[in-house]
């Protein structure tokens, strides 16, 4: 199964450390606007959302690229080959999440740093994680099921399911 970079916006403090270390790894400069991961600010409620490529299974960017510059690695994530990329922006136009952009002539997106992303290592609040989506879902199911059980226990009234006689 392919790995994804999971973000927990509840833990994000908006500090942009992810952008600083990502941009340095990709460009050799601390240049947050060139980062593959971005801390998006939700303005109406001042919330923060780290946002980056979700490594889609059926990726529109791959399909639309006229020079096949975006390829899936054996590990399952998508990488841009800068030698092939012609900077046409089609990938950027079709990405449903705004997570691939053309910067200085080349498509730029998260490549999971080869499986051990710097942003995950540097996030001071553990708001980022890399795992297989199925594992992440499993962990979330376990946590929400536990929360549900606690809710039911606190209410003492049961969960409202009627036993059929």
């Amino acid at each position: 199964m392919a790995q994804v970079l999971a973000v927990d916006p509840r833990r994000c403090t908006g500090c942009r450390t992810c952008e600083l270390v990502c941009s340095h790894a990709k460009t050799g400069q601390f240049r947050p606007t060139q980062s593959a991961i971005r801390r998006v600010t939700v303005l109406d409620d001042l919330g923060f959302q780290p946002w980056c490529c979700l490594q889609c299974t059926d990726a529109e960017c791959v399909q639309v690229c006229p020079v096949q510059a975006i390829r899936r690695t054996p590990e399952g994530w998508l990488e841009v080959d800068p030698d092939s990329c012609i900077g046409c922006s089609l990938c950027s136009l079709v990405c449903p999440f705004g997570n691939i952009r053309v910067i200085e002539g080349y498509a730029t997106k998260c490549d999971l740093c080869g499986g051990d992303p710097l942003c995950v290592r540097w996030c001071p609040r553990n708001a980022l994680a890399v795992d297989e989506a199925a594992n992440l879902a499993e962990a979330k199911a376990a946590a929400s099921a536990a929360a549900y059980r606690k809710l039911i226990a606190d209410q003492r009234g049961g969960c409202g399911v009627k036993r059929v006689q």
Partner: protein, 640 residues
């Protein structure tokens, strides 16, 4: 660093012109950046004795040298300006350098290739300044001025320029020249409680918004990342981190309820009304500055009460708890609302609430009448406090009086602000802490010795209580301070607080030049050696700890000189008379003592501490001013 890291952008609002010039390299080398170089540019720009709210007055913003890197807490932007706060009845105004963090402002200025922003003149129409990749434009603020508060203005501009744009905004208090009006950075960080917002307002400047795409290169990026990691590892190992991650700065309650106790309620009552449980229920999320590994600000959401669901941003708990007790407000949610109101109006919550406490008590006691207040009744109720906030920001009713600040009231009505019962006042500025509760450590003496009567990020290990003399010695030794002259371990541990204050101030200035937060130093997670290494890794200039501390001393002396040429001298470094009187609380009597609470601090001890401070600085103890030799030693003779 990129080639434009030291670019100075000068904006003349009267002429509507913008000018770019590189910072003199000798200034960069001697004053490092941020607050240091900003003070130099202010020296060059602003005429002596000018009215702080006039067109000839200037402000200078300086981005700290490490800002734009992942070094923990490297996000600070300094603002050097002449304060509109009246320091004396004859109209003196101190010159200081405020500092604020922010998620976006520092990074945006770096991205725009601007290291320093000099703003002078006065626009005939309300404007905001937009800077995009170094291109500056003055845009009409007609849709914002008189309509949008500090928060709304930030929201509008971030919507217009993107969520990662850095913003500085003012509210109605700044527009209307309230002498303690502040500006706000990126919605959650205050800048310049000494009236920076009023200075921007007097220039017709509603906001600054910045974005840019440039990056910065480090001379040795791997070394820079290694030293940043080292500091972050200490944060991760810090035992207080878990609680901090839930409450931000509010995690400090167990210390705060002793050091910032105003002495009206028993501590048990205070704890029940303002303690950690009420903090935990209102925190919605933590908000950090750029590159911060901790995050001290919060977004809060009020649960229940009259203001149910109201959201605010900042660091509300300490200030609301102390002022809540002073103002007899039992519901902490009302005080959170008042913090939001003051933030949106764009004025200092500390100064406002304490002036209101003072004036409403004088009114109750009959020393202030309706004749003095323009017919307004000053009741000690929450509704009245909130009404006074609006009147102050708009300069309506009795707000006209409050907006003039402590010495303004003194000038108008002859009431002496030194009679106020909490905190203490020096150079017309109220302190946010009271030394009788906090005890006399270097940060407290700094309120008196710093030309700007505020701590300004001077936190160190000695700011928190309960450290051993060995721990304090270790930090000062690591700064290269002559510890044998500053401490005595036996028979009882003792700090020479006057002499220590010099080094605490210089270390503060180092952090404000490099643009790093003081919290890491306050909790012992960062050493001066880390800063020296980070600075060397970024710039390729290895000046060492001694070189940093000397630059700190140089910049502090420059700040002193800026104030000396205005006429400030030792007479103005007056210990508040309040500190010499006991604080009688329901729990007993609090008096000023030394850090270890072994000996009382009275008038004599304070005078001795001040004299020792001037001596350690190499200044004349009689005048409190730097001597010529000191300027030669620090290479500051060009300013004589």
């Amino acid at each position: 660093m990129h080639e434009t890291a030291d670019m100075v952008l000068t904006v003349d609002l009267s002429e509507g012109t913008v000018h770019r010039s590189p910072l003199d390299q000798s200034i960069r080398d001697s004053l490092l950046g941020g607050a240091g170089a900003a003070l130099h540019l202010l020296w060059e720009t602003m005429p002596v004795g000018s009215d702080p709210l006039s067109a000839e007055s200037a402000v200078v913003l300086g981005v700290g040298a490490l800002v734009g890197t992942p070094y923990p807490g490297a996000a600070k932007v300094s603002a050097a300006f002449r304060s509109p706060v009246l320091a004396s009845v004859d109209g003196m105004h101190w010159i200081g350098c405020s500092v604020a963090g922010g998620r976006d402002l520092g990074l945006a200025l770096r991205g725009a290739g601007i290291g320093y922003l000099v703003i002078k003149g006065r626009s005939s129409q309300p404007v905001y300044l937009s800077i995009e990749d170094g291109e500056a434009r003055l845009e009409s603020a007609a849709d914002l001025w008189g309509r949008a508060d500090a928060e709304e203005t930030a929201q509008v501009l971030k919507a217009r320029y993107g969520g990662a744009a850095g913003v500085i905004t003012i509210g109605p208090a700044g527009e209307n020249g309230v002498r303690f009006a502040m500006a706000f950075v990126d919605q959650a960080h205050s800048l310049g409680r000494g009236g920076f917002g009023a200075v921007l307002g007097s220039k017709g400047l509603k906001a600054v918004v910045v974005r840019g795409t440039k990056g910065i290169s480090a001379a040795d990026p791997e070394r820079l990342l290694a030293v940043a990691s080292r500091v972050r590892d200490r944060v991760a190992a810090w035992p207080g981190l878990e609680k901090w991650s839930k409450l931000g700065m509010g995690a400090g309650w167990s210390i705060f309820q002793y050091t910032q106790y105003p002495g009206k309620w028993p501590r048990s009552v205070w704890d029940r009304l303002y303690g950690e449980h009420v903090r935990a229920e209102s925190v919605d999320q933590l908000i950090a500055c750029a590159a911060c590994a901790m995050g001290c600000r919060i977004k809060w959401r009020i649960k229940g009460g009259r203001f149910d669901g109201e959201v605010g941003h900042g660091s509300p708990f300490g200030k609301s708890a102390t002022s809540g007790q002073l103002l007899d407000v039992a519901d902490y949610r009302d005080m959170l609302h008042l913090v939001t109101v003051c933030n949106r109006l764009g004025m200092c919550f500390y100064t406002f609430t304490r002036m209101v406490d003072w004036l409403t008590n004088l009114y109750r006691d009959g020393r202030l009448t309706r004749g003095d207040t323009g017919g307004v009744e000053l009741r000690r109720t929450f509704d009245c406090y909130e009404e006074l906030a609006w009147q102050t920001a708009k300069r309506e009713g009795v707000g006209r009086l409050i907006a003039e600040g402590w010495v303004g009231v003194q000038r108008e009505l002859g009431l002496d602000p030194q009679e106020y019962w909490y905190g203490g006042i020096c150079k017309g500025t109220d302190f946010i802490y009271d030394a009788r509760a906090a005890k006399v450590h270097p940060l407290m003496l700094m309120f008196v010795t710093n030309p700007r009567p505020h701590h300004g990020g001077g936190h160190s290990l000695s700011t928190g209580p309960g450290k051993t003399v060995g721990e304090l010695i270790a930090q000062m030794r690591e700064w290269g301070a002559p510890v044998e002259r500053l401490f005595r371990e036996a028979p009882v541990p003792e700090i020479d607080v006057g002499r220590c204050t010099k080094y605490v101030e210089d270390a503060m200035m180092v952090r404000n030049m490099l643009g790093v937060c003081s919290m890491y130093s306050a909790f012992g997670m960062e050493r001066m050696g880390d800063l020296a290494e980070a600075y060397a890794a970024l710039t390729g200039r290895d000046v060492g700890v001694d070189g940093l501390m000397e630059a700190g001393e140089r910049a502090f002396n420059l700040k002193k000189l800026l104030n000396a040429r205005e006429g400030f001298n030792r007479r103005f470094d007056a210990v508040p008379r309040l500190w010499l009187r006991p604080m009688v609380s329901p729990e007993g009597v609090e008096v000023c003592t030394d850090y270890f609470r072994n000996r009382a601090f009275g008038e004599k001890e304070f005078e001795e501490a001040l004299t020792a401070y001037y001596q350690e600085r190499g200044w004349d103890p009689d005048t409190g001013l730097p001597k010529r030799e000191k300027f030669s030693q620090l290479g500051l003779t060009r300013y004589l």
